[in-house]
């Protein structure tokens, strides 16, 4: 076997990915991908959805086979036939959707498939002791006998990491590890990654949160359309540069210019509190034509607050007035009637019925328009849907299933569902979550248009750039409490984060 030329250039014992290619039928999802991961470093893999990050990580983790190319791992050719073989070779992957058995204990999850046995029975004492030791190594104080279901997402993720550690993983691939974590939990994860790094472990880190990259990564690899388009030797590169490399063009005007708000106050929220105390004593108002951003860390109560205003969750005290009229928030139907509509956080579970058509989805919630006397005729639905589709620029037809649309177009369908009423208050919770960077601009334009047409718009987002770029004012929540409302001129990254972490 002739030694790999690159290996002799940089003689380290890490991972070399050389010219990986992968096609599904005529679609090439990975073309000539090459990069390396040195021992004890974190390489961030960035790119839009469909850029090929998952494909390349799946090949390294043994879940997919490449068509061409080779991998050298720890000085030897490496082509795992399946995830088990990858784990055997010391390569583990922590998926975005955790693969744990919720009704088994922490220790059982760590040792599933290789439970320590003695005399034909599981040796629980040994299993629990060993699992406990790994959890301690991660700085996690959780009983190994606790059921995984009872743990928070962050702790469940730690269990996955502990599992990988007991498998003697030397390379860990993280796919969007912080998507479901709050600020403190993210910080804990980073601390652990740094600690394991110091022990010589390597990491491939996939994330959409570009602001994290500078904190945790040593080097950055940017992918687009199945190709590697940039390799950065340092991680503190400007976000703008990375985004431009990801989308392949300059993103000069990511955010639309905002028109000045009107004078009528459309939404007034006074001393609103939730029964579970997920938000407390929140008061604000939004004018016609104004966009109010709501910022805060995950768990700050943002989603709970807007759901309550839209009648989706109960409140314990406080009041909401729409156009000066008090609204009795008995449920979503009452809120919609009063002119408050919500584009919910989880598009697929709360926003659209995926298996049904665009037309049906638009009709749900608008039967008072589509069926004035309760009669729904396909032609009326079709006409209504066509109007919504053309107004929002949805790329689809009325009788097309919503599941066939891209995330951005699904989001437009949900917005189209409400826009014709027309509502007075339009609330959007995480409007661009899971939507390609390139498609986000279109959603931003839509949101700006909603405001321009005279609605009061409320936007909740975990993406700080988005909140800052899109809002006239920014309300910051922290642990359920309102920490302040910043004007566009004074709202900066730093100012918002200071309030959000207070």
């Amino acid at each position: 076997m002739s030694p790999d030329p690159r290996q002799s250039e940089s003689p380290h014992n890490g991972l070399f990915v050389n010219g990986l290619c992968k096609s599904y039928g005529p679609v090439q999802v990975l073309a000539d991908a090459s990069f390396e991961v040195r021992p004890g470093e974190v390489v961030a893999l960035l790119g839009e959805n469909g850029a090929g990050k998952s494909t390349v990580s799946n090949i390294i983790a043994g879940a997919t086979k490449s068509d061409a190319g080779s991998i050298i791992w720890r000085g030897k050719p490496y082509s795992p036939a399946n995830p088990a073989a990858a784990i055997e070779a010391g390569v583990g992957m922590i998926h975005q959707e955790l693969k744990l058995l919720p009704d088994l204990s922490v220790a059982e999850n760590v040792y599933v498939g290789r439970l320590p046995m003695r005399g034909g029975r599981i040796d629980r004492a040994i299993m629990n002791a060993k699992a406990s030791a790994q959890l301690k190594r991660l700085g996690l104080d959780v009983s190994p006998e606790r059921k995984v279901r009872t743990l928070r997402i962050a702790a469940q993720q730690q269990v996955e990491i502990a599992k990988a550690l007991t498998l003697n993983a030397e390379l860990l691939i993280f796919d969007e590890p912080t998507a479901a974590l709050g600020g403190e939990e993210t910080e804990l994860l980073f601390q652990q990654i740094r600690k394991l790094k110091a022990e010589g472990m390597s990491f491939i880190y996939i994330s959409h949160r570009l602001d994290e990259i500078a904190q945790i990564a040593d080097r950055v690899v940017v992918m687009r359309d199945g190709r590697i388009v940039a390799r950065h030797e340092r991680a503190d590169i400007p976000v703008r540069t990375v985004v431009e490399q990801m989308v392949g063009r300059s993103v000069e005007r990511m955010f639309p210019t905002l028109s000045p708000p009107g004078t009528d106050t459309l939404l007034e929220v006074e001393n609103l509190s939730s029964p579970e105390r997920s938000f407390n004593d929140v008061s604000f108002s939004v004018k016609s034509g104004e966009i109010l951003g709501i910022a805060g860390l995950i768990g700050a109560g943002r989603t709970e607050l807007v759901r309550a205003i839209a009648g989706a969750d109960p409140i314990s005290s406080g009041s909401v007035r729409v156009g000066g009229q008090p609204v009795h928030l008995s449920g979503p139907a009452a809120a919609i009637k009063a002119g408050v509509v919500l584009v919910p956080e989880d598009r697929k579970a709360q926003g659209v019925v995926l298996d049904q058509t665009i037309g049906e989805n638009l009709a749900f919630g608008n039967f008072d328009h589509v069926a004035p006397k309760g009669w729904v005729f396909p032609k009326a639905v079709q006409k209504f849907a066509e109007a919504g589709i053309s107004r929002l620029g949805v790329k689809g037809r009325p009788n097309q299933a919503v599941s066939k649309l891209s995330g951005g177009n699904q989001q437009k369908v949900i917005i189209a569902k409400w826009v014709s009423r027309p509502p007075k208050v339009f609330i959007l919770d995480e409007p661009t979550r899971g939507i390609d960077v390139g498609a986000r601009a279109a959603i931003y334009d839509v949101i700006a248009d909603l405001a321009r047409s005279g609605m009061a718009v409320v936007v909740v987002s975990s993406d700080l750039e988005e909140v800052l770029g899109l809002s006239h004012r920014v309300l910051v929540l922290s642990r359920g409490r309102q920490r302040g409302i910043l004007d566009r001129s004074e709202a900066s990254n730093v100012a918002v984060m200071e309030l959000a972490t207070s």
Binding site: K337, E360, F364, G374
Partner: protein, 336 residues
């Protein structure tokens, strides 16, 4: 990337959709497979027996499916919203016993109209209780209606301490015997009218369309302002009333009521709805499909009888048909 994906999706679906096919498929949405199966079944029986394709036999089949057909309409609504009702067989028995008890000269002797009214009210209440167990106490529909199945059966037995009530007025039994215009008994007519009413309701009424939203995703429906809980209660109540009505039809056919009637009917009913293309996870199904499912079961039983196949083998065959129908449906969906 996104743009090109959308464009190709658009093209693919535009090509696949024919204009004329769309109208026909709207009526029998997703039921083409079962419909073809039914036609093949009829063809096979026409070729293998002399008696299948006779007016007399077809009318027989229709008479035989009335009870199943009426119950299956209610079950279609329940399954559409992602629920299930295991209690319909027991509710059928309870309703018919209530009718007998109220109407029969040996008991309260208040007359058949009062008996029928009481039966429908009791059946509706049973359904409503199931619905409330689902919406208020958040029991899974399987458990709520399993409980109702046991309770209703027990109540049915308690009324007469387990004995049957025999003999009703002639006009009542004639409802299922006399064929008006030479072919249509009142009970068959009732089934057909109900099927048409509920088909129109599901296809063209806002409330009917809302049931598809609830079955597709109850949370999406709720956030769209659809009153999910009250509609769910209504659907279970209506399913109960229709089960009660089926019990009255059965009483007319048998000229008697007994607390053990309707045993296992819930499974036949669910089978008919599922064979008709409805999805047990909700959001997919139609009255047209259910009608085809009911006919498949009815024709299959009738045909196997004509062929002299033992009832035990019939059960095996029906089991195989259920598995085949749902399996082909699943394959078809996956192929799309």
């Amino acid at each position: 990337m996104t743009v090109s994906n959308d464009a190709s999706d658009l093209k693919a679906t535009t090509g696949a959709q024919g204009a004329t096919g769309a109208k026909l498929s709207a009526l029998f949405a997703g039921t083409m497979g079962p419909l073809i199966g039914l036609l093949l079944l009829c063809l096979a029986l026409t070729l293998t027996t002399d008696t299948f394709l006779t007016v007399r036999n077809i009318l027989n089949v229709l008479d035989q499916i009335t009870v199943l057909g009426i119950m299956a309409i209610g079950m279609t609504l329940v399954i559409l919203i992602g629920g299930i009702d295991l209690s319909v067989g027991s509710v059928l028995a309870l309703a018919s016993m209530v009718m007998g008890f109220v109407a029969h000269p040996d008991y309260l002797n208040l007359g058949l109209p009062a008996g029928i009214a009481a039966a429908l009210v009791v059946a509706g209440l049973c359904g409503l209780v199931s619905g409330l167990l689902v919406t208020l106490t958040k029991l899974p529909p399987f458990i709520a209606t399993l409980a109702m199945m046991s309770v209703a059966r027990g109540l049915a037995n308690m009324i007469t301490d387990g004995s049957q009530i025999v003999g009703f007025s002639d006009w009542f039994t004639n409802l299922s015997i006399i064929r008006h215009f030479g072919f249509l008994s009142v009970t068959v007519g009732l089934m057909i009218v109900l099927a048409i009413i509920f088909a129109i309701f599901l296809n063209y009424r806002a409330t009917g369309r809302s049931l598809y939203a609830i079955g597709g995703s109850a949370e999406v429906a709720r956030l769209s302002g659809i009153p999910v809980k009250s509609l769910t209660n209504w659907v279970y109540a209506i399913c109960g009333v229709l089960a009660g009505l089926a019990g009255i039809v059965l009483a007319a056919r048998l000229d008697s009521v007994q607390p053990s009637s309707g045993l296992g009917y819930e499974l036949d009913t669910i089978a008919a709805v599922v064979i008709g293309g409805a999805s047990l996870s909700g959001g997919v199904g139609s009255i047209g499909g259910t009608a085809v499912g009911v006919l498949i079961i009815g024709v299959l039983r009738n045909g196997l009888n004509l062929l002299g196949v033992s009832p035990f083998i019939q059960q095996v065959v029906i089991g195989v048909v259920i598995a085949l129908a749902v399996a082909t449906d699943t394959w078809r969906r996956r192929a799309q």
